[in-house]
């Protein structure tokens, strides 16, 4: 009987590990297949593969940043951006996600939120809106804010320049 309970517990624990999705799939998952949205998704498998390759032309600290990432996802749309921003921001669990930076100008809004345990940041979430569109972006892994902002600058991701001087309290 003890063995059955142990196996059952292991199955539940394994299922929970798989259920630990990013904020986009937890709060905004219904729009992942919506044709109004552009979705970019890089899986943990891809990051594992990238970490095995010794790229010579990439600085070693950026390479280290990439190897510590587990997944990356962007969801964006040009359709009714302010409505979707409002819906997404309301859906995010504020007890779980700590607000890091807010940049607001008229109706435009950029927010960076993190999910952390102690000093370790597990997830960085950017939620942004302007007249051109709404963007929700999520990095999951062992995150160094400074290096992520460099990586994002190299990838030319709009709004990520706001992260450059971010420091946790």
């Amino acid at each position: 009987m003890k063995r059955i309970i142990t196996i059952a517990l292991m199955v539940i624990a394994f299922a929970n590990l798989h259920a630990q999705d990013d904020a986009i799939s937890r709060f905004f998952g219904k729009y992942l297949d919506d044709s109004r949205f552009t979705v970019v998704s890089v899986s943990p498998r891809m990051f594992r593969l990238m970490s095995k390759i010794q790229w010579d032309s990439i600085p070693s600290d950026l390479k280290q940043t990439v190897t510590r990432l587990q997944s990356f996802r962007i969801v964006s749309t040009e359709t009714t951006p302010y409505t979707f921003y409002k819906e997404a921001y309301a859906a995010i669990d504020k007890k779980e996600y700590e607000e890091l930076i807010t940049v607001r100008e008229n109706k435009d809004d950029f927010r960076f939120m993190i999910r952390a345990t102690g000093n370790t940041i597990h997830e960085l979430l950017m939620i942004a809106v302007d007249k051109d569109g709404f963007t929700l972006m999520c990095f999951v892994g062992d995150i160094d804010l400074d290096k992520i902002s460099r990586l994002a600058a190299d990838l030319d991701i709009k709004g990520m320049e706001n992260l450059k001087n971010a420091k946790r309290k």
């Binding site: 009987m1 970019v40 998704s41 890089v42 899986s43 498998r45 010794q54 790229w55």
Partner: protein
């Protein structure tokens, strides 16, 4: 109870291993004119099984979205089969109806399956499935070639 549990677990694991690629194979059988009336006139189907030790299987399906009214449904079936066969996603990019995705599956021993999918706004596109046997030495050679290309 212990006696029952162990054979049951072994049966489950064996069943899961035998189920690999079965959904995709089912879709391919439809294209090959098995028990279905699926038309492939507008597209091109390249279905090659190699006898080489490295590449053991290649499926390439090209569907013209303008000529085939069910192109979207056929790509949807292929994507469902990939998910049902437990392929692991590498990356995916989707804008409107257009999308690009790559998946892989680790098979028994050194067998690896790689799937690439490209679908355009008109629902036409390309589906590519490669199965090969790549040893650690092969993978090291590929990585070395990539690094050499990168440093040039």
């Amino acid at each position: 109870m212990k006696v029952c549990l162990l054979p049951l677990l072994i049966l489950l694991i064996t069943g899961a291993a035998c189920a690999q690629s079965s959904h995709l194979d089912k879709v391919y059988r439809q294209y090959n004119g098995g028990n279905s009336q699926l038309s492939i006139d507008p597209g091109i189907l390249l279905n090659v099984s190699f006898s080489s030790k490295k590449i053991s299987l290649l499926h390439c399906i090209i569907i013209d979205g303008k000529k085939n009214p069910n192109a979207a449904g056929e790509f949807r079936d292929l994507e469902h089969a990939v998910a049902a066969d437990h392929f692991e996603e590498w990356f995916s990019i989707r804008k409107g109806k257009g999308r690009v995705a790559a998946y892989s599956l680790d098979g028994p021993g050194d067998q690896k399956d790689l799937v690439c999918l490209l679908v355009g706004e008109d629902d036409g596109g390309l589906f590519f499935h490669l199965r090969g046997h790549f040893t650690a030495a092969d993978r090291a050679r590929i990585e070395a070639a990539l690094q050499q290309q990168d440093s040039q």
